[in-house]
Each structure stands twice: as structure tokens, then as C-alpha cells.
Amino acid sequence: MQLSIQNLSKTYPNGVKALVDVNLEIPTGMYGLLGPNGAGKSTLMRTLATLQDADSGTVTLGDINVLTDKDAVRRVLGYLPQEFGIYPRISAVDMLDHLATLKGIPSGQRKDLVDALLQRVNLWDHRKKAVSSYSGGMRQRFGIAQALIGDPKLIIVDEPTAGLDPGERNRFYNLLSEIGENVIVILSTHIVDDVKELCSNMAIVNHGRVLYAGAPEAALQALKDKVWEKAISKPEMETYQAQYKIISNKLVAGKPIIHILSDEPPGDGFKSAEASLEDVFFAHIGAH
């Protein structure tokens, strides 16, 4: 099964172009959707999750027309929204049972499934506690549990690791990586590491456009030997900005280290740097 997005566009009433002629082919496996805040990732995700309608374009999931046959999509969809809450004062097990019912799991299979899900995400011991009393990491784990209900073929997780500490983030990655191979998992994030660690394919979006689509390795390959770095002092920044195409700068031990893109060695004290996905990200974003 493959998710195929063609010429998808969406403009909000206030004139913001959230999606501009988006074309993507998403195969099974983990797919990273990388972009800065406000790039249109969530709009795309929600459109795929049947929560928003595009202005034009088509989306198909196997045989399903995602934009019109919403019910069919919802039956094979697992969705973890970027921000979500749970009714106050309802326990994890009750909520999961409710969601499983809504998903259409027959009552005979529901209890086993809910129990297995809770064990899978390691919330079994806390299943009777109110979800609203969970910590951030536990909530995200609950979120992934509900997204796994009903053997979904398309799983969409929107910014799942925002606000999690490194330990919880690892746990979350583990959970994601355990999802079967035959499922499309779309992971939207603005954190480059998420994609690097998990995804076999990715797209970079900004201002509603797809800037890059392909395997992370290919993207890295394209930048091989083209990224150069140099530690500078803060006052020098302006000079370098005028002179070079700076794709990123970050502080290391209080001093800015800039990365620039250049086919030729720029000299001037720049050293060759190993291209990272972050460079890919900034290179694409900066180019537009």
C-alpha cells in the first residue's frame, strides 16, 4: 500500500498558503516530514487524517480516495495529533476501551486488545489512573497506544516528541520502531534527529511546499564535501553573513560555529564538516 499525494493545495481564508501543490509518494515504513514551525506540516497531516479538506489535488491510500472516502480512511488510520488531551477524570483503560469501540472493535476482542496495548506502551500499572494526571511522556505513550487500535495501515504522528525529555523520547522511538514494516508511518517533526534515527524516507517542507523528498542518505550524499564549518567570534558574524552562504550557526561552548555551503573549499579557516541531516534541513530551507 502506498500513500500518494498529488497537487495538493490549501489556502486559509486569511490568505495563508498552507499547502502549495504538494506531491509526495509515501511508501510503507517510517516517513519523516521535516519542517520548521508553521511550515504546513500539521495542515498536511490533518488533511491526511481527514480532519481538514484541501482546496485541490488528490490523495489516495491504496484504493482509497482519502479526500472523499473519509470513513474508509478512518478505518485504517491511527492518528496521534500534535496536541491532544483526554476527558478529565477518565482512566486510561476506560478511555482506550471507548476509543476502541468508536474504532469499531467488536466487544469480544476489545478487552484483550486494550490490555495488550496498555502493556505494549507500559501503562499497565497505571491503567486505572486518570489520563489527565499522566506526565507528558506517559501521555504520549497513551497517545501511541490509541493510535495503534485496530491494526491501522496508516499511522500519523504529529510532533510526538515535543516537550519530552531524552529518556521519554527514546522510549517513544522504541515504540514507533516496533510498528510493523507493512504500515505507513508518517512522523512529522521539526527535530532533525527524529528523522535521522527512525526514517527511511523523508520530505522537507516549508511555506507549504515540498523542498525535498527522498531518502535521508541521498540527501546527505548530495551535500557530501560541500559543508564547511568555522568557529568565529560574535562580532564577526555580520561579515561572514555578507560573504558566505551560511546555512546554520550554533553555539559551541559559547562561541558561534557557522556552517556554510560551498562546492569548493572556501579556505579562510573553514574546515570540512561531515554533512548532517540538520545541514540538509537548513540548506533546503535557506534556499527558498
Binding site: 486559509y12 481564508p13 490533518r46 487524517a49 481527514t50 480532519l51 481538514q52 479538506d53 472523499t68 470513513d71 478512518r74 478505518r75 492518528y79 496521534l80 495529533p81 496536541e83 491532544f84 488531551g85 483526554i86 476527558y87 478529565p88 477524570r89 477518565i90 476506560d94 471507548h98 476509543l99 469501540t101 468508536l102 474504532k103 469499531g104 472493535i105 467488536p106 466487544s107 476482542q109 484483550d112 486488545l113 495488550a116 496495548l117 502493556q119 505494549r120 507500559n122 500499572d125 497505571h126 486518570a130 489527565s132 494526571s133 499522566y134 506526565s135 507528558g136 506517559m138 497517545g143 490509541q146 485496530g150 491494526d151 516537550g163 529518556g167 522510549r171 522504541n174 515504540l175 516496533e178
Partner: protein, 1203 residues
């Protein structure tokens, strides 16, 4: 520090739109009320200025109730701002002091909460100003701007109520740090207001009511209840003018301040660990440790599942949705709280129900149903409004909407699950209300629990009606982008729609949202007369609710699209799957709509309000010119009436003998026909000249003309045969069981009927009709006016014979004695005939009756009653007998061979007197709960005695159709009843009764629409001819003695008994009283009958000294003022030179209302301040002037003073 937070708060609010929006809103609403005659806030008669001082002040009270939600919003915002914005940790980490923070924000919010209140002043001032230019309402309805009233409004209402409610809300918000609880607190406060009102019903509880109203509105109303029109227009009540108002305001402001301080004590800057969790769990993580996942352990495989399809899955989705929503609502604090209070209030309402004279009614199921509706539904609707919003927004508020929305469910399962949750909540509450009602019945020893009626009315019919609104609220919330906006629109629509239809003069139940024919449940017929029409309209609106539901489902807020274009596209996509269902429901609804339209607008066409007003105006304009032309008078009537109760059908044939009593030949007969049924006249001498079937007027030529003294027979048929469905069920006087109608309901009236004219001063002005007096001016020399008694429009004394038939299980009753009774086939026939002539004004009745019979001195005494209503039959019998004894002895012979009381269904609640026959409503007499204690008034006894009095005062002699005539009937009937009661129950009972009468009179005169008149010239003003009449007659009796009063009355009767015209005026009996009054007391005749006289007596000091002989010397200091009022209540003091009483009482025995009278002496008071000293045998408890409150007192409460 304080000023920092105070200024911060002020600046913050002043820059936000909220205070200004509400200032504008209050201002506009008040302006609307000020300039429009149709909107009133707090009421007022035609003589009360639209900007009367008291009205201004009162609106501050009303607005402070409406503004409660605002107070909560402003003060909540002030204390919770930092928590809401998550700046609490930043702010509290700064070196601030708690008092500055807490009180600074409080007073900032407090000051801002006053801003909207200034809208009242703006509304009044601009309203008065603009009306001066545009004259929307007549200019004479406005007085000068009264700024003091605004100031007093602020002082008496705004500030204390803000201190009270604000203090509580702020403290609750500070302690709970929740926005919800302060709103719950506000709801509780409103409930407190409502409950304190139930204390007011019995006059003895006034002290409690004065203190218990946390908003001071009732305290204020009691303090100003006797204010006259003149006072209401020009005066307002200062904070220090009334002791009780001041105490109340101090108490409740104090409660507010105490709460504020309590909140201060409990308020901390510390992070609160909350159990149960709130929505901000990110900022307050729960103490559950995160655990690491053991990544080395094998992955537990998820069991394979198959997604269900089809209807079974939908049902389980629906069930799960319902369960989740129902549980969360039913367990929530607001639900439990509001329900509990609602049930308490219901209990209070049911157990404390009293009527006019402090007596209770039996908790019959019909009554209980009314109580549940009256005192519980407000709470039910609160719950409905609240939870409709909460449930529709539940997913979005919990931010779980994206997950839920992406589930493969259909919108209808979501809608229906929530709808059923709300419906179940209400069903549970309604069931609890029924349980409470049944329990109340048992508690009062009433064991006829009609569960079927409870369930049918409350749990079925009302739930259907309420559920329609659930659908409406769901739609509003589904379309609204904001929950609070949804609440606002919902409440506005709910509260406003009834006014809207009134304002637009729309009366069609096809248009009024949720409208059904109005109806009343009775033990006689259940809801039988209405059942069919109700079911049709219920179906019509339920199906419309279904369509609303469908629209809601199509537009269900699912997904993140808020743009209308997209939502419509999504909805039209959804429509595809609901097409069959949708088209089905729409076409059934449309079919019913068409059917009802045909039935209510074509088959049973009725006149809308505007049209019937117009027709009344035209009736007057077209036919008033015939008012004074000579017309034949009815002298003899024969009825042949067939009643078919099952089909509510009445067929009547009437033969009139009419006589020309005038001195000229009459060549035309004018008839004002009744609008019920069709009418056909048979007489060869009559030819139809004009038939105005729209305005119900006909003119027949009489040929040859009717010579003076000549008579002829006029016959006509009139039938009432109901057909189809009606917008409002008409002629419910004809029912399946319990038929009760007057001759006037189906016979025409000869000539122009003056009483059909529009009477409201303002309405007449609107239609350009000349001003109209309520009654022709009092003038004993007006021999034209004296030719008609006020009862008989087209007849004087008549003879009546009736043959009436009904179904075999019912007894039919017509005026006069029963001559013959027989059965033919399945019909039962009765023949009745007047024993003696009487007015052409009587009733016909039929029902399945039980009959109690007695005979007394050859007079048959009978009570016809519903089999379950036997409670007071003996008292009625007793009263009839005692009345007859007293009246025959003191006033003269009784001319009928029978006296009967007949119960009729509670479609109306009065008792009435026809010759020998007294219909008495199911609601007021038969179901009165009369306790054994002697302290309570026997209202049944009293009403029967009053109606028996009318057998003399009206049915033997009745005043002419002019001012003062009600005195000759109603006032004397009151007096007669008072005397029978006094002989039966003793003088103490009279004190309680007269207190009610005096209170009623004093209250009502302040609300007089036009003008108060002296008793002798009253013009159909109940508070004068009944209530003042009682007090006046009792005082007269106390002064000149019972015997002399009775002599005067029987002398009057001797002169006018069954006399042909001219009829007496009020001057005739007054002349008889004067004859019986000694010269020294003659002044009272003028004071009592010809003037409006009031006294202001008070006892300022009382002291007692023990005498050596064991007796007690009492000294009292008193003040006496005498006032004469003009017709607007303007009072002028006149010198006092009156006989009044002084006296002293012992302490009442426990459980008794009055103590033993120790001293009672009549003294002649001629100056303002007086001191009296007298000796009594026992220790006195109270003493004072006019201790029995015989005089009409401005303020009867300060007559006595305790030692």
C-alpha cells in the same frame, strides 16, 4: 504594593473590550425599556412614569441580579489571570506581598464591575431625552430625571450586592483556582434569591423574607409595598430610610467581606498539587513516576482484530458515547449541585404552598404537577443549557477532538449519544421530582398518587417539550465558534423567544418555537379536551426537532475546518448518506405542517392578536352609535340544551320572550353575537338587515314594530361542534367531564355591549379611540344610567326554564329547582325551573358528580363534587347552613327552594354566585387543606358565606351600572361573610382575616393603573370593593354595632328587593347607615365611604409599673395622624378628631397567634401625641393604639409595641 496591583487591574480591564461592551449592552437594554411601552423592568401601571424614581432604583436591583455573571467573570479574571496565563510562577516568585496582591486585584476588579451598571443611568437619561424628541411613548409617562434615585440604587443595590457576590466569587476563585466554581457559586446565589421568595408567600414570614434575600430586592419591595403612585414617581429609598433594608444590606455585605477575608486567609502563592487533575496538567505534572521500558523484553504482539461493520457496530459506538457522556455529566459537581438545590427548592415550594389567606391546598396530583413545573423546571433548564454546551464542546474542551474526530464513527452516533445523555439526565431529574412529589403527598397524608398522570405529564409530555430545546441548543453550539457565545445565544433565544412572539404578536403554534396549545390538567377530565391537539403539535415539533438534529449532524463540528465554505461543502457531502432519512423526516413534517396549517388557519381560523384588537376597535367605531337606542328586554327564557360530553358537542335551542319596556315603539333589534358556534334566528317578524359576522353584530328589522309594553318570542339555535385541530383549544368549558358554561357563552346579547370595548388607556390612545371611563360617573340623579343594573345588559329579572340532557353517567345542572328527571335511550334528561325570578346570568354544568344533600327549613342544600374531592364538603354544607341562618334572621327571606355548590374543573379558579347555585372551582375550595388548628382561616367557609351573601347582595338587589355599585354587592357579601365567620370562629379569627385584607388593599392601591376612588364610587376595583370594603364595614360595625348595621342593610333591601328599575346606587345603603349612626360618629360615614382616609398611628413608648396590689400600671405614648388621599395617592394631613381604641395584650400561649386581651378602651384622639395610662390585671406583653387594627393604617405594624 496594593496600588500596583489595583492599577494593573484597572488598566488591564479598561483596555479590554468587555466592560465597555457590557456598559453598552446594559445601556441599550435599559434605554429600550425606558422608551418602549412594551418592555418593562420591574413593572408599573399607566400612571407610573417610565422613569419613576422607585422604578429607577428597582432596576438597579434587577440589574444587579442579571449582572451576577459579570461579577463572577470580572473577579474571576482578576484573581485567576496569572494562573490562566501561566504567569503565576513568574509573578509569585517576585517579592510581592500577599495582601497587596489579593486586595489589589479584588478592588481593581470590583471597580471595573461597576462600569456596566452606569449603563442604567445612561439608558434612563438618554431614553428620556430621546423619547422627548421622538415620542415613542406618550410624554406624560415621563417625569424629570431623578438623580437621587440613581444614587440610592447604587447605594442600596449595586454596592452591597457587589460586596456580597463579589466577595464570595473572589474567595471561591482564589481558593479553588478554578473558573467553574465561582460560576457555580453565582448559580447558588441566584437560587438563594429564588428560595427566599418562597418565604414571602405567607405574610407572617415577612421578617424572614426581609433578611433572607441576599440581594435586598424583596426587602426593598416590602419596604415600599404601600407606596402610592405619587410616591413611586418622586421618591426613592435611601439606605438609611428603612431599618430592615439597612440591616439586610449590612448583613449581606458583611457576609461578602467575611468571605473575602476567609479567602485571603486560605489563599497562597504556593503551587497547588491537585488531585484528579485539571486541564493544565502540563504546568502541574502529577506525581506518577515515569518508568522506563525494558527494551530487551520481547514485544508483546497485539491481538489480531477485525473492525466491525454495520449497525451493530454503530449501536455499540452510540452506547459507548452515551455512557461516557452520561457518566461524566452525572458525576460532575454542577449537575449534583444544581439538582440537589432544585430538589430542595421543589420540596420547599411544594410544602410551603399557601394561597391568599395563608391557607394551604391539598397536594393533589394536578397541583403537584404544577408545582414541579413551577419550582423545578428553572433548575432543569439550567442543567439543560449548561450540559448541552458542555457536551457539544466536551471533546474540543478536552482537546481530545482530533483523536475522536478521526475515528471511523458517524456524526449521528456522536450526536445521538450526547442527546441521549442529556435526555437521560433530565429523565432522572424528572423522575426524582416525581418521587419528591409523591413523597410530599404522603407526608401530608394525601394518598391519591396518580402515577399515570405524573408520568404522562412530567416524564413524557414535558420531556418531549424539553428535548426539543436540547436539539436547538445542540445546533447552536455546533454552529457557534465559541462555547460562551453558544451559551449566550442559547439563553437569549430561550428567554427571549417568548417575548419575541408577544412582541411580534404571533400566536400561531406553528411558528412559536416548540409551541403547543396551552392546557390545564384536571381531575375531572385529565387532559382529554386537549389531548388530540397536543399530540398533533407535539409531533409537529418533535419532527421539526428531528430536522434540526439532522442539520446539526450534517454540520457537526468535526475536524479543524471552521471556514463556512468548507463546512457547507462537508455538510453537503454528509447529506448524501442521510438523504433517505432526511427526505423522509422532512416530508412527514411537511405533511403534518400542511395538515395543521389547514386545520388552524382555514378550518378553525382564529384572529391573531393584532386582528382581534382591530376588530374590537372597529366594533366600537361602527356600532357605538347604537348604544343608547331603545331595545327590547328579555323577560322569559326557555332552554333546550343537549350535551354530548364525549365529543365535546353542545346543541342548544333558546326561546326568548322579549318585551319593549321603553316608551317608544322598537322597529329593530340589535344583537352582539357570541363568536362560539353559528346562530340562527327564527321569528316571522324579524328580517336580517345587517350581519357583520366578523365583528359579531347583527341588526334585524322588527316588522311590525314592537309597541311599548308589547312582547314577542325570539328563538334561535346555537351549536358548538368541534372539528379538527385548533391552535388553542376553544370552548374548553365544554369537556368530556366537568362542563361548565354560562348563558353568555352561547347566547347573543341584545344591543351594543359596552364592556367589549378596549379598556386599556394606552391601547385606546394607540388606536385613536376617545378616553373611556371604567364606569359611568356616580350620579344618583342619572335616571338613564339607573335603568340598567350592572349585571344585566339586556335583561332585568327573568324567569328561566331549562331542559338539559347529557350522557347517562353524568348529572346536568341548570338554574333553578329540578322539576323532573328521566332517561331516554342512552341520554339522561333534566328539567329545571327558577323558583323565583332572577338575573339573566347563570350557568349550565354537567359531570360525573357525587352529591351530598341536606335539608334545612325546607331548603335543599346540595354539594355536587368530584368523587375524590369530598374533603371539604361538610364545611361547605355547614357554611351554607350558617349563612342562611344569619342572613334570613338579619337580612330577610331567601327566595329559592335550594342552595347548591357545584364543583367545576380547574380551568378557572373562582367561585361565583348564581341564583341558588354557586359554582366553585376544583382548585380553590374543594382541594383546600384546612388544618384543625383554630388559628388558621377557614377559607372554604368564608368563600361559601360570601357567595351565599350574594344571594341577597346582587340576586335580590343590585346597584345600577355606575360607579359604586360593586359596593352594594361585593362589599356587603364580604361583610355578610365576616359576620357569619365571626359568629362561627370568634373575633380573633377576624383579626387575621382583616390583616390580610388591609395588606391587600394597601399594596394594591400603589399599583392602581388609573386612580383610586372612595368606596362609594369604586369602579370595579377589587382591592376597594372587596378588601377595603371588609375593613370599612368591620370598622363601621365596631363603631355603631352589628345590629344597627344589619338593620340598615335590611332596610335597604326592603326598599329595593327584586325591584324593577330604576336600580339603587351606593348612596342608598349609605343613607341607611347614616340613619343608624349616632350624631357623634356621623363623621365616619364620610371618612369611610366618601373619602379615601388613612391613619398613621404608632406607639412610640410603652412602660409598665408593678402596683402593690399585684396589678400593673401601663403607660403608652402614641402618635396619631389622619390623612386624606387624592386619586393618585397624594396624601394631605388633616386634623385628627377620631374615636379609636387603645389596649394591651398578654403574652400568647405557645402555638397561639394572639394573647389574651387585657385592656380595650375607646378614646377620642384629638392631637398628634398622646399619653395613656391604665391598669391591667395580668402582666402585659404588648400595648398600643388601635390594637385590633380597625382603622385603615398606612403602616399597621407599629401600632403595638412590646414591653
Amino acid at each position: 504594593m496594593f496600588s500596583t496591583f489595583f492599577n494593573f487591574e484597572i488598566k488591564n480591564w479598561v483596555r479590554s473590550p468587555m466592560p465597555w461592551i457590557f456598559l453598552l449592552l446594559f445601556g441599550l437594554l435599559q434605554l429600550g425599556a425606558t422608551v418602549s411601552d412594551n418592555i418593562t423592568i420591574g413593572g408599573g401601571g399607566a400612571n407610573i412614569w417610565k422613569n419613576a424614581a422607585l422604578g429607577i432604583q428597582f432596576s438597579y436591583g434587577i440589574w444587579s441580579l442579571i449582572g451576577l455573571l459579570l461579577v463572577a467573570a470580572f473577579l474571576n479574571g482578576s484573581i485567576l489571570r496569572d494562573f490562566e496565563n501561566h504567569t503565576d510562577q513568574i509573578v509569585f516568585a517576585s517579592p510581592i506581598n500577599k495582601a497587596g496582591y489579593y486586595f489589589g486585584h479584588y478592588f481593581g476588579g470590583f471597580a471595573i464591575a461597576i462600569i456596566p451598571i452606569f449603563g442604567i443611568a445612561l439608558g434612563y437619561i438618554f431614553g428620556t431625552f430621546l423619547n422627548g424628541i421622538f415620542e415613542w411613548t406618550q410624554l406624560e409617562r415621563y417625569g424629570p430625571n431623578n438623580f437621587l434615585a440613581h444614587f440610592n440604587g447604587l447605594m442600596v443595590f449595586t454596592l452591597p450586592n457587589l460586596l456580597f457576590a463579589g466577595g464570595i466569587c473572589y474567595a471561591v476563585a482564589a481558593v479553588t483556582r478554578s473558573t467553574a466554581y465561582p460560576f457555580v457559586a453565582v448559580l447558588l446565589l441566584m437560587v438563594g434569591y429564588i428560595i427566599s421568595g418562597t418565604f414571602l408567600q405567607d405574610i407572617d414570614n415577612e421578617t424572614i423574607a426581609r433578611l433572607a434575600d441576599p440581594f435586598g430586592i424583596r426587602t426593598f419591595s416590602i419596604a415600599t409595598k404601600y407606596w402610592t403612585v405619587d410616591q413611586q414617581n418622586n421618591m426613592s429609598l435611601g439606605l438609611f430610610d428603612d431599618k430592615w433594608v439597612l440591616i439586610n444590606r449590612l448583613i449581606w455585605s458583611g457576609v461578602g467581606i467575611a468571605s473575602l477575608l476567609f479567602g485571603y486567609k486560605r489563599f497562597t502563592f504556593e503551587e497547588k498539587a491537585r488531585s484528579g487533575g485539571k486541564k493544565n496538567s502540563k504546568s502541574s505534572p502529577a506525581p506518577i513516576p515515569s518508568q522506563s521500558i525494558n527494551t530487551t523484553s520481547p514485544i508483546i504482539p497485539l491481538p489480531r482484530v477485525t473492525l466491525g461493520i454495520g449497525i451493530a457496530t454503530r449501536w455499540s459506538q452510540l452506547w459507548s458515547q452515551f455512557k461516557t457522556d452520561f457518566k461524566s455529566s452525572a458525576k460532575s459537581t454542577p449537575f449534583l449541585l444544581i439538582s440537589l438545590i432544585g430538589l430542595l427548592n421543589l420540596w420547599g415550594g411544594m410544602s410551603g404552598a399557601t394561597d391568599g389567606y395563608g391557607t394551604k391546598e391539598l397536594p393533589a396530583t394536578t397541583k403537584m404537577v404544577d408545582y414541579v413545573r413551577g419550582s423545578f423546571y428553572l433548575f432543569l433548564m439550567m442543567i439543560q443549557v449548561y450540559f448541552c454546551g458542555v457536551l457539544v464542546w466536551k471533546e474540543r474542551n478536552a482537546k481530545t477532538n482530533e483523536i475522536i474526530d478521526a475515528m471511523p464513527t458517524r456524526n449521528w452516533t456522536m450526536w445521538l449519544g450526547k442527546y441521549l445523555a442529556i435526555t437521560s439526565l433530565m429523565a432522572i431529574l424528572l423522575s426524582l421530582a416525581i418521587v419528591a412529589a409523591v413523597f410530599t403527598q404522603s407526608y401530608y397524608g394525601y394518598d391519591r398518587h396518580e402515577i399515570g398522570m405524573f408520568v404522562g405529564e412530567i416524564l413524557v409530555r414535558d420531556l418531549i417539550g424539553l428535548s426539543f430545546w436540547t436539539a436547538i441548543f445542540f445546533l447552536i453550539h455546533a454552529l457557534s465558534r465559541n462555547m460562551y457565545l453558544g451559551f449566550f445565544i442559547g439563553v437569549l433565544l430561550f428567554v427571549g423567544h417568548s417575548f419575541l412572539w408577544q412582541g411580534l404578536k404571533i400566536s400561531s403554534n406553528l411558528v412559536k418555537l416548540g409551541g403547543t396549545p396551552s392546557y390545564k390538567v384536571s381531575d375531572f377530565f385529565g387532559i382529554a379536551p386537549y389531548a388530540k391537539d397536543l399530540s398533533w403539535f407535539n409531533s409537529y415539533w418533535s419532527l421539526f426537532g428531528g430536522i434540526i438534529a439532522l442539520v446539526t449532524i450534517l454540520f457537526w463540528p468535526r475536524g479543524k475546518e471552521t471556514w463556512w465554505k468548507k463546512r457547507i461543502a462537508i455538510a453537503s457531502n454528509e447529506w448524501k448518506t442521510y438523504k433517505v432519512f432526511g427526505m423522509g423526516i422532512i416530508s412527514i413534517w411537511a405533511a403534518i405542517a400542511g395538515f395543521l396549517f389547514y386545520n388552524t388557519q382555514v378550518l378553525n381560523k382564529y384572529d391573531g392578536e393584532t386582528r382581534s384588537e382591530k376588530l374590537r376597535v372597529e366594533y366600537e367605531q361602527f356600532y357605538k352609535k347604537y348604544e343608547d337606542i331603545a331595545q327590547p328586554r328579555i323577560v322569559d327564557v326557555k332552554y333546550n340544551i343537549q350535551l354530548f360530553p364525549e365529543s365535546r358537542t353542545m346543541l342548544a335551542h333558546v326561546d326568548w320572550v322579549v318585551r319593549n319596556k321603553s316608551t317608544v315603539a322598537i322597529d329593530s333589534m340589535h344583537l352582539t353575537t357570541s363568536s362560539t358556534g353559528k346562530m340562527r334566528f327564527e321569528n316571522p317578524r324579524l328580517t336580517l338587515l345587517l350581519n357583520d359576522s366578523v365583528r359579531n353584530y347583527r341588526i334585524y328589522r322588527i316588522s311590525p314594530a314592537l309597541a311599548p309594553g308589547d312582547s314577542m318570542t325570539v328563538s334561535f339555535d346555537n351549536n358548538f361542534i368541534p372539528k379538527g385541530v385548533e391552535n388553542e383549544v376553544t370552548f374548553v368549558k365544554m369537556t368530556q367531564n366537568g362542563t361548565f358554561f354560562n348563558n353568555g357563552d352561547f347566547t347573543p346579547v341584545i344591543g351594543y355591549v359596552e364592556s367589549s370595548e378596549m379598556s386599556s388607556k394606552n391601547d385606546r390612545k394607540k388606536y385613536g379611540l376617545p378616553e373611556k371611563t371604567r364606569a359611568p360617573a356616580f350620579n344618583p340623579q342619572d335616571t338613564v344610567a339607573r335603568m340598567k343594573a350592572y349585571i344585566g345588559a339586556d335583561a332585568d329579572w327573568v324567569n328561566v326554564e331549562t331542559t338539559i340532557s347529557t350522557s347517562t353517567d353524568q348529572i346536568a345542572i341548570a338554574p333553578g329547582s329540578l322539576v323532573k328527571e328521566w332517561t331516554e335511550g342512552n341520554r339522561r334528561y333534566f328539567n329545571y325551573k327558577f323558583d323565583y325570578k332572577g338575573w339573566n346570568f347563570y350557568s349550565f354544568m354537567s359531570a360525573r358528580y357525587e352529591v351530598a344533600r341536606q335539608e334545612w327549613n325546607g331548603i335543599k342544600l346540595e354539594v355536587y363534587y368530584h368523587k375524590d374531592h369530598a374533603y371539604n364538603v361538610d364545611r361547605m354544607m355547614n357554611s351554607m347552613r350558617k349563612s342562611l341562618e344569619y342572613y334570613i334572621k338579619n337580612f330577610g327571606p331567601y327566595y329559592h327552594k335550594q342552595a347548591r355548590i357545584i364543583e367545576f374543573p380547574r380551568i378557572a379558579s373562582f367561585a361565583q354566585a348564581f341564583p341558588g347555585t354557586m359554582p366553585y372551582s376544583e382548585e380553590i375550595g374543594f382541594m383546600q387543606d384546612l388544618p384543625e388548628e383554630e388559628d388558621d382561616l377557614d377559607k372554604v367557609f368564608y368563600v361559601v358565606a360570601h357567595e351565599m351573601g350574594h344571594q341577597y347582595w346582587a340576586h335580590q338587589a343590585c346597584g345600577a351600572a355606575m360607579q359604586g355599585s360593586e359596593m352594594t354587592t361585593e362589599t356587603f357579601a364580604q361583610y355578610s361573610a365576616l359576620m357569619v365567620m365571626e359568629h362561627e370562629y370568634g373575633r380573633d379569627q377576624m383579626r387575621k382575616f382583616l390583616t390580610y385584607e388591609m395588606d391587600g388593599y394597601l399594596r394594591a392601591r400603589g399599583r392602581e393603573q388609573l386612580r383610586e376612588l372612595p368606596l362609594a364610587k369604586c369602579e370595579n376595583q377589587g382591592y376597594i370593593h372587596y378588601q377595603k370594603g371588609s375593613v370599612v364595614m368591620y370598622y363601621l360595625k365596631e363603631m355603631i354595632g352589628e345590629e344597627r348595621v344589619n338593620t340598615a342593610l335590611s332596610d335597604y333591601l326592603k326598599r329595593f328587593r327584586y325591584m324593577e328599575p330604576p336600580f339603587p346606587t351606593s348612596a342608598d345603603p349609605i343613607a341607611e347607615f347614616e340613619k343608624q349612626t349616632p350624631d357623634s360618629l356621623r363623621y365616619i360615614i364620610k371618612d369611610l365611604f366618601w373619602d379615601i382616609t388613612l391613619f398613621d398611628n404608632r406607639t412610640t413608648e410603652v412602660s409598665v409599673r408593678n402596683l402593690p396590689n399585684g396589678k400593673f400600671e401601663v403607660t403608652i405614648k402614641t402618635e396619631s395622624r389622619k390623612l386624606k388621599a387624592d386619586d393618585l395617592g397624594k396624601e394631605n394631613e388633616v386634623p385628627v378628631a377620631d374615636w379609636m381604641e387603645i389596649g394591651a395584650f398578654a403574652k400568647p400561649e405557645s402555638g397561639k397567634r394572639f394573647g389574651k386581651t387585657l385592656y380595650r378602651q375607646r378614646v377620642h384622639v384629638t392631637q398628634l401625641s398622646n399619653t395613656f395610662t391604665f391598669v391591667v390585671d395580668e402582666k402585659p406583653d404588648k400595648a398600643g393604639i388601635d390594637p385590633f387594627k380597625l382603622l385603615i393604617e398606612r403602616n399597621p405594624e407599629d401600632n403595638l409595641k412590646e414591653f
